[in-house]
Every structure is written in structure tokens, then in C-alpha cells.
């Protein structure tokens, strides 16, 4: 049997249609329901499973076992898609479920040993999955059903999720996992009247680039080499000096290619010297620590599918830090050609909170895409 895990957050997306920013916490869910919101997550999860079943075809379809939680937490969706399910968790209180149910269901499902965990929800659900999964190396894919989806762990549609799942479970061709960002709105910043998001970590996601293209030869296979080229180019630009690494999967891979062990979600600082391994000067540095550095290069990569370069998940690299480092001249934007192309011509976005600085940084900037390769790309506010 091929086991696929499914955990549905039944209240995900409830807030969207009735104008609530999100549905995090039981109060918002109840408010949304009282305002007439209808649950969508279960049906969208069923659509993903339906696509998975259609792509698996006979007889593989009968070999599929959905490991899931009872009722609206997954079993209902599996039944709607006509697939066999095994229930490994049941919430105590019927339809009034919570983040704790998501986490408990995830733990129960992955304990059964599944090839892939599908979850239906939004950014809040993705954070719950991240927390529950811990160090378990189980590939994960989000079926997009939430209100806010800044994270890069979601397929572009429920159907696309089914397609990616089918490709992953069948493992035809080169399917790898990549680390995708889990982002969520920064509630602290929201309290201060700023809308911004934070990076909470990474989840391993099947790397099936269906959104950009179907069969680009060796695109995902070429990624590690491209990152190696970007790392070498960045190191040459810096020469001997300090390199601030913003969060992001590209910057993290670049650090690894340079031989540095850096933190997962924070801003780290490396001291580079040609011919020597990099030295980690600071881990998870805050604004004050960065301001104390003096002149430094700042390496950034766009985060998630939105193309945000500054102001999402890297607020430590504040306007003051950017100005102190030397502004535009000291910025190294690192991005693979594939990731840049996936933006479909949209500019890289700036939202530092300092309009004058954003205006200064706007315009065409060379993005390092490989060894001795750059793309002149637009940055915009």
C-alpha cells in the first residue's frame, strides 16, 4: 500500500469570505461561522485527493491508503474522494477543533510512516504542522485553503497539490524535496500597526516545478550547481569582509556551499577571507548587533512566491542597518534564474517601512544568478 497522510484544518479559510483577516484561534472561527461563512477546506482537500487518485490510475488507486484523522480533520475528505482511509486520531469535541488537534493529528499520522503528508489550511496551519513535525523528515505539501498564504509550502491549487503528490508518490523522474519557507503574519508588528510577516522555518516539500513549467530539463537537478555558482560569485564580491546573510532558502544554501553552519530562520553574519573557510561572527543577529558591525555586505534572496526582498521575515535588516552598511552598493541579491523566472516579470518588492529608503533602493539592480552571471532586475516599493 502507498500511504499518504492527510490533515485538514476544517476552519481554515473561514474568515476570508466574511472579511476577517484570518481564522487563527477559536473565537475568529466562531465569529466567521456566525457571519455565514461555509467551510471549504474539506472539499478542497477532497479535490486534491481526487486529482491524486485520477493521476495514480488503476490499479495504483486501490493501493492508496489515506492515513488521517476522524471526521472533518481528514476522513470526510478521503471518503468524498472515494479513497480508503485509516483513522489514527480523533478530536474530542466534534467540529470545534483547534490548533492542538492539527498538531496531534500530524504526530499520529507521521508516526504511521507515510510517504507524504498533505495538509489543508493556511499559514497558521503550516506553522502548526511545522511545530508538530519537529525533526521528523517527512515530506509535506500544503493544499491551499487558508486566508493568508505567504508560505511557500503550498501548491498553486488543490488540483496541483494532487498532481505533485502523485508525482512524488510514483517517483517517476527526478523528484527531490526542497526546503520551503513557512511564513505567517507577524502579530507583534500588527499590534504596532504594521502589516508584515515573519519566517518561522522550513518544511521539506516535493520539488515538482509544475507552476513554472513541466519538463525543463534538469531544472531542479541543476539547482545545487547554480547555488554553488552564486556562492562563489558572492564570495568573490565580498573578498575579505563581513557578509550579512538574510533568511531564505537560497541564502541558506549559499552559506552551506561556502561551508558555514548557520541558523535556520535568523540573520547570520559571516567573516569571509579568500582561501579560508568562513567564520560565523554572529548567529540570529538582531538589529542592534547588525548596527554594531560597521561596514558589511548584505546578501538577500526573495522570500516565498511573493518576491519580497525586504520587509518580510527579515526586519532585523532594518532601514538603519541598510543605511549603515552602505545602502544599494552593498546589497547582494542572490536568486536562481528559475526562481526569478517564476516571478513572471513582477518586480522584487521592498517594504522596509522607510519610504525614502525604498525609493532609493528601487530600480534595476544586478541579481546574482550564477558564477559571473547576473540579471538586471527591477526592485519596486
Amino acid at each position: 500500500m502507498t500511504r499518504v497522510g492527510l490533515v485538514v484544518n476544517p476552519v481554515a479559510g473561514l474568515g476570508g469570505r466574511v472579511g476577517l483577516g484570518g481564522t487563527d484561534g477559536p473565537d475568529r472561527a466562531r465569529t466567521a461561522l456566525s457571519l455565514g461563512a461555509r467551510p471549504l477546506a474539506g472539499a478542497r482537500a477532497a479535490a486534491a485527493l481526487g486529482e491524486l487518485a485520477a493521476r495514480a490510475g488503476e490499479p495504483a488507486r486501490d493501493e492508496l491508503l489515506v492515513v488521517t484523522a476522524a471526521g472533518p480533520l481528514g476522513a470526510e475528505s478521503a471518503a468524498a474522494a472515494g479513497l480508503t482511509e485509516r483513522i489514527v486520531y480523533a478530536a474530542g469535541t466534534g467540529r470545534d477543533t483547534s490548533a492542538a488537534d492539527t498538531a496531534a493529528a500530524v504526530r499520529a499520522v507521521v508516526a504511521e510512516g507515510v510517504g507524504l503528508l498533505l495538509f489543508a489550511g493556511g499559514d497558521g496551519t503550516a506553522r502548526d504542522v511545522l511545530g508538530a513535525l519537529g525533526d521528523v523528515p517527512c515530506p509535506v505539501l500544503g493544499v491551499p485553503t487558508g486566508v493568508k498564504m505567504h508560505s511557500a509550502v503550498f501548491a498553486v491549487s488543490p488540483r496541483a497539490a494532487g498532481e505533485v503528490a502523485a508525482a512524488w508518490l510514483a517517483r517517476t523522474g527526478r523528484v527531490r524535496v526542497r526546503d520551503a519557507e513557512v511564513m505567517d503574519r507577524d502579530e507583534d508588528a500588527l499590534g504596532e500597526g504594521r502589516v508584515t510577516s515573519r519566517l518561522f522555518g522550513w518544511l521539506p516539500v516535493p520539488d515538482v516545478p509544475v507552476r513554472v513549467q513541466q519538463r525543463k530539463t534538469g531544472s531542479s537537478a541543476a539547482l545545487p550547481e547554480a547555488v554553488g555558482g552564486i556562492a562563489a560569485e558572492a564570495a568573490e564580491r565580498v573578498g575579505a569582509g563581513l557578509l550579512v546573510l538574510g533568511p531564505g532558502s537560497t541564502t541558506r544554501a549559499v552559506a552551506a556551499a561556502l561551508g558555514a553552519d548557520v541558523s535556520l530562520t535568523g540573520v547570520d553574519v559571516l567573516a569571509l577571507r579568500p582561501g579560508h573557510p568562513p567564520r560565523v561572527v554572529a548567529r540570529d543577529a538582531g538589529e542592534d548587533a547588525l548596527l554594531a558591525l560597521g561596514p558589511a555586505w548584505i546578501a538577500l534572496s526573495p522570500i516565498g512566491g511573493q518576491g519580497f526582498l525586504l520587509g518580510r521575515g527579515n526586519q532585523q535588516i532594518s532601514p538603519r542597518v541598510l543605511r549603515a552598511a552602505g545602502g544599494r552598493e552593498r546589497l547582494l541579491v542572490l536568486c536562481t534564474e528559475t526562481k526569478l523566472a517564476a516571478l513572471g516579470g513582477r518586480p522584487l518588492l521592498l517594504d522596509t517601512g522607510d519610504d525614502a529608503l525604498d525609493a532609493e533602493l528601487s530600480g534595476h539592480l544586478p541579481v546574482i544568478t550564477g558564477r559571473r552571471r547576473t540579471s538586471l532586475y527591477r526592485l519596486a516599493m
Binding site: 491549487s157 523522474g173 527526478r174 513549467q213 530539463t217 516579470g345 552571471r373 547576473t374
Partner: protein, 532 residues
């Protein structure tokens, strides 16, 4: 090309415009084995009479002789003929289908008489090491073709030595490098600018030649970004390598401005004219200010891509850059009326390949140009553009299709369409639609590099196809789009009436799996051990 205006249009018009009939196509499936699995030991196609033992004198030294004969198939003539006829029936060749779906390849009809010229013993039996006195005819063809391409490009000198389009681009980059080396500026000018929709060979060749590469992305209107170009140029700029029109079919309306900006920064401009089919006789590289350009003779000038080769590239340059052309050049001495090869060119970038070019393709290109003449070339270009925009008009009305970048603007000789909307609505991919087309006796393939347009489809109708052909092709796409929305399973599992169901791409792009020889097939596919 050969259409004449009918005297009375009304009844004809009605017949042609009527809804095209969709073919009930069914491809042959012979379930034919590989040739290595056919035949039997000792079977022969030709029995060669053995020589008298007293006359046997081994021409090959003993040390170079095989201990055992090579493992070749052993078959009679009829078995061989039947084998290849069966394979040909399982193939959707360029002469058999409406081959407009092989966009970027300019799959025009190549007149069969041109092949007769190439097969003529006066061409086919030439040896590249013959003394030049004995190959005056072919040297004359090469020299004349150079003169024709000078006129077509507006440039001063031409080399026909490069063996393909990318080889021609590399030759141009090598000449750019030689030019700046001669001026002592090579260390300073180490950057080459290109655009994301230029053929990726431009960036690759620039990098191979040691330059840094700067890529420009489209501006918000979908055209090459002139503000990005202004930000990119400077004292480090060696050259601009740009394809125009791009594979999207978009013609850069500010191409002269691009050239001026780069020239003002001291750089050279090299024009990738692999997509010249829509501009022959209409614009010239030199008139737009370029210093170098190249053509793909196997695309624009007949020999449509053959079976992936052989190709032929042509480089054209200004007088200033002529000393750097590959050697030998073909020179004409008007006094003696003879042609000779000039190898004494000290500033030359050297040989790009052995001898003097892919002669069969040069002969075809020469024959094609001479048969059309200047007016015919322009008519071919205009017809290609008309055909393309006619097809564009029909295809953009099909549900699920869009034409990204420079929305609503006409295209030159090809269009890169997107099935993104259909994909979002149905979950089907462009590849599924291309495969379903095989059930109607045609296809489109997967050359959409760089893969920037989502769910791409690139169509290039050239001047060869009739209005009825284009109507049929558009009707096939419309039918598949209808199926995609009403009966997606049929499209997802296509083709149903073709010889081969679905090709697994790993067989073509995964070195661990691909098997391009019988020996590799036995080792990788059949799993026979001990075979290298």
C-alpha cells in the same frame, strides 16, 4: 508561395472557409524489434566476391585489426528495407504533417530539387582535402553565397565555416574578444549583455568565451527593457548579443536605440538572426547599426533542421572586424578568374571546424536563395508573417489560450502562446495538448527555452503552409481545448491513435537511464552485466 489569386473568389472562398474536417488519423504500429534483434548469423545483403588469396594484402596494420568481427546486425537487403519502411510509418515526419508546431525551428518546406543538387556526385563525392584547383565549383558556390548573405545582412564580409547556429554565435563572440584584445581593452571590457528571451546560446557562448553575462528581463510592456540596458552599460561593456525578433515573436521596436546606447558605451553589437525568416528583404542588421550578425542557414534558408542536424551557421561582420573571421577564407582572384583558400590571416580567431563549412547545407541555401531572388525572399518573409498573424488571430480565440508579453500586439514569424488558463481550469498541461495533437496527425513540441512562459506552446507557420493547413491546425487545437474542458481524461491519457503512447522523458534527459547505443541499451535497459 505558389498561390495565385483566383479570378472569381466567391465560390472558392466559401469552400476554403468552411469548417475544416478533423482527420480520423491512425498511425501504423508495427511493434518492430530493434535491428540488432533481427536477422541471423551469416545472413548478408550483398555477397562480395572474394579476391584471389595471392592478391590479399592487408591495408590495415596487424596491431589495428580487430581480433573479432564487430557485432553488427546480419540481414538481407529486403529485411533492411522493410525494417526502415516500417519505422518511417511510425514517424510523424516534416513532409507528412502540418509541421507548424515545431516553433523556433522554421520548419519550412525544403524543395526536393535542392536535395538532388546535394546528392549529385559533383557535390557528394568531393573530398575536403582535394586540391583547391579541383574544387573550383564548390568554392564558387561558397563565395557566391557569401555575396548573397552580404546583401541580405548589409554587412561587409561573411564566413560560412561555423557548423551550427550556436557555433556561429561563439564565432561572433570570439571575434568580439579578438577585437578588444587587439585594442588592449579586453581586461576592462569583460561584460556581455543579453536578454532573457534571446536564445540561451548567446549567454552560454559569452560565458564560454570568458565574459561575464548580464541578462535583461522584459519591461512592464513585455519588450526588452531599455531602462535596464541603460543601467547595464558602461566602461566594462564588451557587447550586446540580442535575438530579434525573439522566440516570443516580439520585435524589439527600439532596436536601433539599443544599438546606439551600447555603441555610446564603447561596446559592439551582435545580432542573433536565427529568427530572420520574417524580416528577409525588410530590415538588415547593418542598417540597424549592428557590427556582427549570424544566420541559421538550416532554418531560414532551407534544410529545415533535418533530424537534428547537420546545421550550418553564417557569420557576417563589418569591414573593421573582417580580419578576425575564421580561416581559411574563400578569396576570388578576378585576374585569373579562380578561387583560392586564404589561410594566411594572422589576426583570425582560427578554425571553428575543420575545412570550409557544412557544404550540403550551403548548396541548399544557395539554391534556395537563387531560385527565389530578392523579390522572392521578401515575399517569403511577408507570407511567413501573414501566416503567423493569421494563425495568431485564430488561436487566440480558443478558450484557455493567452499570448503573454506585449499583449495585443502583432508578432513577426512565430508566437509563444500560454495554456496557463486552461491548466488552471482543467489541470492539464501544454505537454498533454501537444501529445493529443498526435491523434490528429500533427504535433507541437517542447522547444520553449528559456522556460519563462508558463504552459508554453510555440507555433511558427513559415511561408510554406496554406490557409487550409492553418485552418486545420487551429481547428485541431480548438477541438483539443474543447475536450480539455469537457472530457479531460481523453487528453490526459493521449495519444490514443499514435504508435507510441507516452515517452518517458528520463530516456532523453537522465544520463543514468538514456541508452543511445545497442551496447548501452543492453547494459542499462536489459540489465546485462559485464558490458561496457
Amino acid at each position: 508561395m505558389t498561390a495565385h489569386a483566383p479570378v472569381s473568389v466567391a465560390p472558392e472562398e466559401a469552400r476554403i472557409v468552411g469548417k475544416p474536417r478533423l482527420r480520423r488519423f491512425q498511425q501504423a504500429s508495427w511493434d518492430e524489434k530493434l535491428i540488432f534483434e533481427l536477422g541471423s548469423p551469416g545472413e548478408r545483403g550483398v555477397l562480395v566476391p572474394s579476391a584471389d588469396p595471392s592478391l590479399e594484402r592487408p591495408a590495415i596494420p596487424a596491431a589495428l585489426r580487430r581480433a573479432e568481427p564487430p557485432a553488427l546486425p546480419e540481414m538481407s537487403q529486403q529485411q533492411v528495407l522493410r525494417h526502415y519502411l516500417r519505422l518511417s510509418q511510425e514517424t510523424l515526419g516534416a513532409d507528412l504533417n502540418i509541421d507548424v508546431g515545431q516553433g523556433t525551428c522554421t520548419m519550412k518546406y525544403s524543395p526536393k530539387v535542392n536535395d538532388q543538387f546535394v546528392r549529385d556526385p559533383r557535390i557528394a563525392s568531393l573530398h575536403p582535402l582535394q586540391d583547391e584547383d579541383t574544387v573550383q565549383g564548390v568554392l564558387g558556390i561558397i563565395h557566391s553565397l557569401e555575396q548573397l548573405l552580404k546583401e541580405i545582412s548589409g554587412m561587409d564580409r561573411v564566413s560560412l565555416q561555423p557548423g551550427a547556429g550556436s557555433a556561429a554565435i561563439y564565432t561572433n563572440v570570439a571575434m568580439i574578444r579578438a577585437h578588444f584584445a587587439a585594442r588592449g581593452e579586453l581586461e576592462q571590457r569583460d561584460e556581455i549583455i543579453t536578454t532573457i528571451f534571446s536564445h540561451p546560446s548567446n549567454a552560454a557562448c559569452a560565458k564560454t568565451a570568458g565574459f561575464k553575462v548580464i541578462t535583461l528581463h522584459p519591461d512592464p510592456d513585455g519588450y526588452p527593457d531599455i531602462e535596464a540596458l541603460r543601467a547595464a552599460v558602461g566602461p566594462r561593456t564588451a557587447a550586446l548579443l540580442i535575438t530579434n525578433p525573439e522566440d516570443t515573436g516580439i520585435y524589439n521596436p527600439r532596436i536601433e536605440e539599443f544599438v546606439r546606447i551600447v555603441h555610446e558605451a564603447g561596446g559592439l553589437c551582435s545580432y542573433d538572426q536565427a529568427n530572420a525568416n520574417g524580416i528577409l528583404g525588410i530590415t538588415r542588421a547593418r542598417d540597424a547599426g549592428f557590427d556582427l550578425c549570424h544566420f541559421n542557414l538550416h532554418k531560414t534558408f532551407s534544410t529545415p533542421h533535418a533530424c537534428g542536424g547537420p546545421a550550418a551557421g553564417a557569420c557576417a561582420v563589418t569591414e573593421e572586424l573582417a580580419p578576425y573571421l575564421p580561416r581559411p577564407t574563400v578569396e576570388f582572384d578576378p585576374e585569373s578568374g579562380t578561387y583560392r583558400l586564404d589561410d594566411d590571416r594572422p589576426e583570425s580567431v582560427g578554425k571553428m571546424r575543420p575545412f570550409y563549412g557544412v557544404v550540403p547545407n550551403l548548396v541548399r541555401a544557395y539554391a534556395w536563395i537563387m531560385s527565389l531572388g530578392a523579390e522572392g525572399l521578401r515575399a517569403a518573409a511577408e507570407t511567413a508573417v501573414l501566416n503567423n498573424n493569421y494563425l495568431l488571430h485564430k488561436v487566440r480565440q480558443i478558450p484557455g489560450v493567452s499570448v503573454p508579453y506585449a499583449a495585443g500586439r502583432p508578432r513577426v514569424e512565430q508566437v509563444r502562446y500560454s495554456w496557463q488558463k486552461l491548466h488552471e481550469d482543467t489541470g492539464l498541461h501544454s505537454e498533454d495538448i501537444g501529445l493529443r495533437a498526435a491523434d490528429f496527425g500533427t504535433h507541437y513540441w517542447t522547444s520553449h527555452h528559456p522556460y519563462v512562459v508558463p504552459e508554453p506552446m510555440t507555433l511558427e507557420p513559415t511561408e510554406s503552409y496554406t490557409r487550409a493547413d492553418l485552418d486545420e491546425y487551429a481547428a485541431i487545437l480548438a477541438e483539443i481545448a474543447r475536450e480539455a474542458y469537457e472530457d479531460p481524461e481523453t487528453v490526459r491519457t493521449a495519444p490514443h491513435r499514435s504508435t507510441i503512447h507516452r515517452v518517458r522523458p528520463q530516456a532523453l534527459d537522465d544520463p543514468a537511464v538514456w541508452a543511445v547505443s545497442w551496447r548501452a541499451y543492453r547494459r542499462k535497459v536489459l540489465g546485462e552485466a559485464g558490458r561496457r
